[in-house]
Symmetry: C3
Subunit: 192 residues, 3 copies
């Protein structure tokens, strides 16, 4: 009798467990439960020196498109609306412009608002250091008067194969229209 009841309790426990497991599995199938904890976090700085007609040697970027009322030598009025800038900026581990770059931030940004400084970015971090080879690709709006702005990490290659995430930009320093330095906190939530 004791034996029989222990079998039944075992059976009960067993079925209960199966139910729990099945539910867990179903959730996995429906919507993968994804934690908002990054699988990788990194902080970098990149430095943009905009060509202004006088700094050809040092400039890391240049205006290459502008609206009809402006030109490509001097940043346009109306919050630079319409200016398209191509850049190849050094990436550093600290905010020191002269520290050894770990890669290049390459791509473009454009100013897309008349009444306030707002830009849109499409670019890559191309890493070339002992620590990282590969690239991360970014896209997103940068309302640059905000203290922090989030853009998307839309893909990656090499060490960052298939990565996705969010990058938080912060203007760490700027000098008029010629220089700015962006602190970039990269949080990846998909790592392969």
């Amino acid at each position: 009798m004791e034996l029989r009841s222990s079998i039944y309790s075992l059976l009960f426990f067993f079925l209960l467990s199966l139910t729990n497991l099945s539910n867990a599995l179903k959730n996995t199938h429906k919507i993968p439960q994804r934690p908002r904890k990054p699988c990788k976090s990194m902080v970098y700085y990149f430095h943009d020196v905009l060509y202004n007609g006088k700094n050809a040697k040092n400039a890391t970027s240049a205006i290459v498109g502008a609206p009809a009322w402006a030109n490509t030598t001097i940043a346009a009025g109306q919050s630079h609306f319409g200016d398209v800038v191509v850049f190849d900026d050094p990436i550093t581990l600290t905010n020191d412009f002269y520290s050894t770059p770990v890669g290049r931030a390459q791509g473009f940004y454009l100013y897309d608002r008349k009444d306030v400084f707002t830009s849109w970015l499409g670019f890559s971090f191309v890493f070339n250091s002992t620590e990282h080879k590969g690239s991360l690709n970014f896209a997103g709006a940068d309302p640059l008067m905000n203290k922090t702005r989030d853009i998307s990490v839309v893909g990656g290659t090499g060490d960052f194969f298939m990565a996705r995430g969010v990058a938080t930009l912060m203007t760490d320093a700027f000098e008029g229209d010629v220089y700015f330095r962006l602190r970039t906190e990269i949080n990846l939530y998909e790592c392969w």
Copy 2:
């Protein structure tokens, strides 16, 4: 004897279940079964008023790049091939240009075909309403003579953290080269 057979049947049932569970797990590992049912659907309209040399006050966009045979004031011949347009367009919930915007569509489009109107878009929806804060980032080809066109939602931030999906564009209205209104049905298939 009866007891023993009930133990064996229990064991049999147990092993069978384990096999099923293992198979389910293997499938989860191999290819996550992802339903094509959106986790979020939204419809918005955005309104583009292109600068044409006379509407500086109302224009929400401007040509900022053009091929050698054209200029940035008037849309180029050959289906505007080569024109690059930067925009900051109001997003509304209805097709009414004068309804309260819930955000701005910001970024660029370019015309990339000589014999038919076709464009390529890189832009963000930047939401700023009581309902939504955050952004969605888009990229894709827009063969705009087709009734509907699909582009990719490549990422998101804030309320749309890490979102992915497909947006279906439809030209809801247009007036020559100066105004168009796009109905945008956004279907997200990855929500976090």
Copy 3:
């Protein structure tokens, strides 16, 4: 006695299995174990004929943005730094320019480095063949002096609904600044 011990061994086995299953499930939840084996592989070629002032009829692309020191008719000095090119290039299955196109590569590239040829690409493959309808959207850095370069497949529509992956570019041929042909090996790792 024998019976009882067989029950206990069954119980032991059962709990052990549950532990294994639970661990497997936890792994699935924490980080989906994603194999680096593509769910789809394809090779295409696309062909770019850059407008140079003399080839208006055959050109599939044109410079539409350039820095202040250059113009949009002739590729700029300093490794074409700052040139923005819009393109609508035929995609073929082989390296034969005259084979029937299966679609168009549409979007833009820009040269973003002064001391070496490096570009940044944002474009789509728009398929229109019996085999494929739909589009794949790409973004990434192209250090084009390297033998192979990886960019991201950031999304897809139609037959390539929600696709993600990596594309490996290889310069298959080029003729000065007027023609180049890129071999594009597309490996998708997310297929829906």
